[in-house]
């Protein structure tokens, strides 16, 4: 039933407007109350007090209207208690300091929320936050600037010209926090254009399996062993009929290559495991000053994992206040030594190699793999030799001699 809430709201309104608890004494109390209510005055909390007296509540505004009905019914009214905000205000009206302080508080909040207190940068991957911040500072957009003063459009253009790596920037001011979103330009890879003469050289050691030459003179035959950097397809054409000329060599040269991946796994190794004990340290950051909320600087654990949290105080959704509570969380760690059997260690080493294979040999056609283990000083060494087939050609500019 929502009436409970409505009653509470009514009480709050009554308190804000102020009301009087008064005692009425006389003989025709019911008649008096009827007269009062007929005037449209709301009365509440009527309770019998003595033989001929009631206690009741009435709003300040309506109190003066009681005089006429009281006189005509011969009833005496006495104020018992004054309640509500107007009376409170009246009581403290001479304490100007309180009012001044309150107004100053509001003014400070209002003015301070007009400044930028923090800058958040998101969307950057290759460029560091500091670099963008520095450029922002150079263009005049820094922490402590008044929000209305800064020309965002100009700043944006300025930054985009100063940082060509960025393709797009947006500065959103949310209260006292500036959120800078950037998008990095994807730089085109350096491609040797089709007109530029070039050779094709080997990027890895290998044995040639097949060479499909579209343009240029093949320097290798299937079965040839080549070293890294050796010429596969030449871009220099030299014929007796036409003479000497340079072309852009184009070819797919497939070669058999060898890869070796190694991994090791000790039979006894120490692992750090959280014990569940946690220790917090809090710091209050007011503007740019840090206030420690702890006494002891020392951390009770020798082995620990540290995590930082930041909680920014804000009013509503967008107005960030220059107050930040920083929490450092220390989780105690414990070293647990695990003993593995030889087979388990081998299994573990193999798993590591499989992981590595996925990472390093992706996109290559693996023809054969050979796994071998070696045990030395209680450490299992695993070695895996791969035979792959891949395109080993790489374009290289012809250097003029």
């Amino acid at each position: 039933m929502p009436r409970g809430g409505i009653m509470l709201l009514l009480r709050l309104i009554n308190w804000l407007r102020g009301y009087v608890i008064c005692e009425i004494t006389g003989f025709f109390l019911e008649k008096f109350i009827n007269m009062v209510t007929l005037k449209g005055i709301i009365v509440w909390g009527i309770r019998k007090k003595g033989k001929n007296s009631f206690k009741m509540c009435i709003r300040i505004k309506d109190f003066k209207k009681l005089r006429h009905p009281a006189k005509s019914t011969g009833i005496r009214i006495r104020i018992k208690k004054k309640k509500g905000f107007p009376f409170l205000l009246h009581k403290y009206r001479k304490r100007k300091g309180v009012f001044a302080g309150f107004i100053a508080f509001l003014a400070i909040i209002f003015v301070m929320s007009g400044y930028i207190w923090s800058i958040d940068i998101s969307g950057n991957e290759a460029i560091s936050d500091e670099k963008i911040l520095n450029v922002l500072n150079e263009s005049g957009f820094k922490i402590g600037i008044f929000t209305l003063k800064c020309n965002l459009k100009e700043t944006k253009e300025d930054i985009l010209t100063k940082l060509p790596e960025l393709s797009w920037i947006a500065i959103n001011i949310k209260g006292s926090k500036a959120v800078v979103e950037v998008k990095e330009r994807i730089m085109p890879p350096e491609i040797i254009s089709k007109d530029t003469p070039c050779n094709i050289i080997a990027k890895r050691d290998g044995i040639i399996i097949r060479a499909d030459v579209f343009q240029g003179v093949s320097n290798v035959e299937p079965g040839y062993a080549v070293a890294k950097g050796s010429l596969l397809v030449s871009g220099v054409l030299d014929s007796t009929a036409v003479g000497f000329r340079l072309v852009h060599a184009e070819a797919n040269v497939y070669g058999k290559t060898k890869y070796v991946l190694r991994a090791e796994c000790a039979r006894s190794y120490a692992e750090k495991v959280p014990t569940g004990n946690v220790f917090f340290r809090r710091t209050l950051q007011l503007f740019n000053f840090d206030i420690k909320l702890y006494i002891k600087d020392s951390i009770p654990y020798t082995l620990y994992d540290k995590m930082d949290y930041k909680q920014e105080l804000k009013v509503g959704n967008d107005v960030y206040l220059p107050i930040v509570i920083k929490t450092e969380k220390f989780a105690q760690l414990e070293e647990i030594t695990t003993e593995l059997s030889e087979d388990e260690a081998k299994k573990r080493a193999e798993d590591i190699i499989n992981e590595l294979e996925k990472k390093e040999l992706s996109g290559k056609d693996i023809q054969a793999r050979e796994l071998s283990f070696k045990l030395k000083n209680d450490v299992v060494y695993a070695e895996c030799i791969y035979e792959c087939v891949e395109d080993i050609g790489e374009e290289a500019l012809i250097e003029n001699e």
Binding site: L29, E30, I33, N34, T37, L38, K39, G40, I42, V43, W44, G45, I46, R47, K48, F54
Partner: protein, 103 residues
């Protein structure tokens, strides 16, 4: 034996009431809409709300008598308090023992 006939004015009044009752039955309307009846609501034995009252006739810790036009409602109980009072509604709170209707 001479029959006692009802007087004419009484008869008309009776017919009128009957008509209203019939209309009520046909339309199945609550009585408050047609006649000037108060609306009464109670929450257990703690709260008694009346809308459409015509003023307080008597108030005491153990008894509240409220005029409702054609009749009066009397609430008996202990520690009775008039929680909210306007010209046409009233809330009585306390331990209500008995509610009676009478002229």
């Amino acid at each position: 034996m001479a029959r006692v006939r009802p007087s004419k004015s009484n008869k008309i009044k009776k017919q009128k009431v009957q008509k209203i009752n019939k209309l009520e039955q046909i339309l199945e309307l609550p009585a408050i809409l047609i006649e000037n009846m108060p609306h009464i609501e109670m929450s257990g034995n703690r709260e008694f709300i009346i809308e459409g009252s015509r003023g307080i006739l008597e108030y005491d810790e153990n008894l509240v008598k409220i005029s409702a036009g054609k009749f009066a409602v009397t609430v008996f109980g202990r520690d009775l308090e008039l929680k909210n009072l306007t010209d046409d509604s009233c809330i009585v709170t306390g331990n209500i023992d008995n509610v009676s209707f009478g002229v």
